[in-house]
């Protein structure tokens, strides 16, 4: 869905996993710009707990791969100091659930730093947070956390739903001169997909991707839910329901225009979120479309985490809490019925 002029493809299309795509994006930006460094807990020799940095330290050396102590607020502050004095740090947050320990940095410092200085500096930091459920990691290691940081002008927020998105969004984030928070999903790390490993894949900031075109209903999702929504849409096509699936890719800036264009055609909207619906991006999308006077043929629906429980450890219970392909398909079907 990119419309602007972009570099021509020079690299072959290759298959890789989501986590290989993350590592490829980091390495390609480190190769392109000596100011880019990688930091975080265990990002060095071990390649990161989720192996999203495999090969980085071997290729670029320890001077550009900084293993940090377990102190998110402290090392995000360090990254901020680096970013305003000439480096472009890429910071890994091992679990999205750990990012709130850096509340001051992510809420008060990174987004506000340029503003408070009256525009004296740029703040090129990429914060990668690996989150999401389905891994049986329990209540404190399973959040996506994707809507927790949306009320922060000064910050940009992305969410990667596929290997190619992981590659293209991360490279775009690292090239930004503003702080960008990129969410990755543990449930997608081993997902394989086609990636063109060159600059032609760099995603435009603030642009959603229509990952499946359709005419009956618009399904908007992020991260693992975009993956599942796509599967649900393929299943429903056999029932004669033609769903359009939009992977938002960016939550700030959020591509309301893309959703509006789609819903004005389909008249139906389902948001699929791995988070509670209250005050998340899904509620914001519905609210924005209502304010734009979009007419719905059926009331918009949300498939989300239940509001009255938390994500549990028990595999059987976790599977009931996180929207399944079936649950997504059921809601889409009801919306179209």
């Amino acid at each position: 869905m990119q419309t602007e002029a972009r570099p021509a493809q020079t690299a072959p299309t290759v298959e890789m996993t989501y986590r290989e795509a993350v590592a490829a994006a980091i390495m390609d930006e480190m190769a392109a710009d000596p100011a880019v460094i990688l930091m975080g807990e265990d990002v060095g020799a071990s390649g990161g707990v989720f192996k999203t940095n495999e090969g980085v330290v071997e290729r670029f050396g320890e001077a550009r791969v900084l293993n940090t102590p377990i102190c998110e607020n402290g090392f995000l502050g360090v990254a901020l100091g680096m970013a305003v004095t000439g480096l472009r740090p890429v910071v890994e947050i091992m679990f999205s659930d750990f990012l709130p320990t850096a509340g001051d940095a992510i809420v008060n410092e990174l987004p506000k730093f340029r503003f408070m200085s009256g525009g004296q500096t740029r703040v090129p930091i990429t914060v990668r947070a690996i989150g999401g459920g389905t891994g049986r990691f329990g209540t404190q290691h399973s959040a996506t956390g994707e809507s927790w940081y949306l009320q922060l002008p000064g910050l940009k927020v992305a969410a990667a739903a596929s290997p190619s998105a992981a590659y293209g969004l991360l490279r775009a984030a690292i090239r930004e001169d503003d702080p960008v928070l990129v969410f990755e999903h543990k449930g997608l790390l081993l997902r394989r997909g086609a990636v063109v490993r060159d600059a032609s894949s760099i995603r435009e900031v603030g642009r959603a991707a229509v990952v499946r075109s359709g005419s009956d209903v618009t399904v908007v999702a992020t991260l693992l839910m975009a993956d599942r929504a796509l599967t649900a849409a393929e299943q429903l096509s056999q029932e004669g329901i033609d769903a359009e699936v939009i992977d938002l890719q960016w939550l700030r800036p959020l591509d309301f225009d893309a959703v509006e264009r789609s819903v004005r055609r389909t008249g139906r909207l389902v948001v699929v979120e791995e988070q509670v619906h209250l005050a998340g991006w899904g509620a914001t999308v519905i609210s924005e479309l209502a304010m734009r006077g979009v007419q719905f043929a059926r009331p918009p629906r949300a498939v989300s985490l239940p509001d009255d429980v938390l994500v549990p450890y028990s595999p059987a219970l976790e599977d009931q809490v996180i929207p399944s392909v079936d649950a997504i398909a059921t809601t889409i079907r009801e919306t179209c019925g």
């Binding site: 550009r64 901020l80 001051d104 940095a105 009256g118």
Partner: protein, 334 residues
Amino acid sequence: MTPNTSDQSVTAAPPHPAADGRIAWYRRMLEIRAFEDRVQELFMDGLVEGTTHLCQGQEAVSVGAINALGADDYLTITYRGHGQALARGMSPEAAFAELMGRADGCCHGVGGSMHLTDFSRGLIGSFAIIGASFSVAVGAAMAAKLQGRPVVAMAFCGDGATNIGTFHEALNMASLWKAPVVFVVENNLYGEYSPLRSTTSVDDLADRAKANGMPGVIVDGQDIVAVHETATAAVARARSGKGPTLIEAKTYRYRGHSRTDPAAYRPAGELDAWKKRDPIALLGATLAAEQVLSAEDQKALARDVQKSVDAASEKAATSRVATMEEMRHFVYAD
């Protein structure tokens, strides 16, 4: 590094008074004092709103330590930072205009009292949330180290900040990575409204350096020569690759925590006792005794400084306010 500052009496007479850097320090401390006193008046006049945290009584720490830095070095400060910004060379006019919310302010008026920042002077941040001044300074120091620039970062915080996690996180990382950074804790005995002893498990904050494998040095924060000498040694140590130092400067704030705090919690007589060790008066007495700057010359200098501070505040008040359109450009890089 040896925290021995007691035997540094000046023995040789300076070649010429104007060549004695202490006169510049003296002048700068007068400027900070006059600036802070004027801020109080500007509040009364309604030209400055919100809150502000004044530093009268602490001038020697700012001027002594910051003058140990080179022009390319970095500095991070806190919400009680007017003195540090001026010590780094920010013009009183740019600082006043910032406090008045005007376009000519160092941050074009959007930052205000707590965020005096000037990248052209290496003053890369002024933080209103406790602890961040330390971690950000470690980052600036590490960027310089990784890029092979011989640059040092100096970070200021208050005594209260030594209780927050970020302080300890920053110390640990700085020591672990031998970051070229100097931490300066201004211990003015009160964290906001609470006496240090009611919130803090140690009497000497320099002791907190030990837990992180770096030297902790206590210095008399009212004695600018001692502060400067201690900071100079720490800066040299950092620049030579030996790592960070934590300096605790024992000092005192004459005013309350912020504008609305009358500081009634202080024991009777405490303020008067500290005023007997006023940092400006102490240096003035030394300069007079050594015939570097007579009492009369000091008075003339004070009048001169007062005049320039008055002019700066009047000029700042004539500045326009930035537009919303200009302000929007401060949110994201273009």
